[in-house]
């Protein structure tokens, strides 16, 4: 199952259209950006969440200013790297490098994008077996889907495996 079924055609369109325009003019012409689509859904087996280890994957651009570089939020071509952050990290130690959403809500209550406290409650109640030790963060502004598929997703999958997760909750910003 391909992540994006028509990746080669999508990439050719992206490079000849949106990317070429951006590189030639410095302007981001979203009318030339082809929104991705698949014809066939992904299949997968059910799990018993009460016996599973869940990893949170967030595109809010969270990072640890004291020990990690911020995402390159101002880059018009996007940032395709990821960060791992302990779920035990104090909220005050987390910052957000992402220029494409209003941070007012997440600054007021991080659970709106990174629901660690709500998920912890569900672990305590037995609804979730356990949380992975770390959550995975990236900046969701990533216009080059070929780079998402070649760089970001493999990096996430690698870390999900290291964390021993059986299930993942994806929270786009």
């Amino acid at each position: 199952m391909d992540i994006l079924e028509n990746l080669a055609a999508w990439t050719a369109n992206f490079r000849a259209g949106w990317l070429a325009t951006a590189e030639a003019t410095g302007k981001l012409d979203w009318k030339r950006y082809q929104r991705p689509a698949n014809a066939h859904p992904v299949s997968g087996k059910a799990i018993d969440l009460g016996k599973s280890r869940l990893v949170l994957i967030s595109s809010a651009g969270a990072y640890l200013p004291a020990s990690q570089a911020p995402f390159d939020a101002a880059n018009p071509y996007g940032d395709y790297t990821i960060r791992r952050i302990s779920v035990c990290t104090p909220i005050s130690a987390i910052a957000y490098a992402h220029d494409h959403y209003d941070h007012a809500a997440v600054d007021a209550d991080p659970d709106v994008l990174m629901p660690i406290r709500r998920l912890d409650e569900m672990v305590s109640a037995g609804a979730i077996g356990a949380l992975a030790d770390d959550f995975i963060s990236f900046g969701g502004y990533q216009p080059a889907l070929d780079r998402v598929i070649d760089e970001t997703i493999p990096a996430i999958v690698r870390e999900v495996k290291v964390l021993g997760a059986d299930a993942a909750l994806l929270v786009p910003a």
């Binding site: 689509a37 087996k45 799990i47 599973s52 209550d109 609804a127």
Partner: protein, 70 residues
């Protein structure tokens, strides 16, 4: 995701549904508040519980729309 069951929740059904994720809930919460309104713990729990409940079913699933607003 290579043997890892996935689920997601999105405020942007128009952009997400065409990708055909295996399991997803959709709300009208808005950019930057995907799980719920700030400090509205009840709403956050509803969104999470509905989204995580999908992991208990074989995928693919039809889109699940939640009546949750900003």
């Amino acid at each position: 995701m290579l043997g890892v069951a996935t689920t997601l929740t999105s405020w942007n059904a128009d952009r997400t549904i065409p990708i055909k994720p295996p399991r997803a809930t959709y709300t009208k919460l808005g950019r930057g508040s995907t799980i719920g309104r700030p400090n509205d713990l009840a709403q956050q729990r509803r969104v999470l519980e509905a989204t995580l409940a999908l992991l208990g079913r074989d995928a693919p699933l039809d889109p699940v729309y939640l009546d949750e607003k900003a």
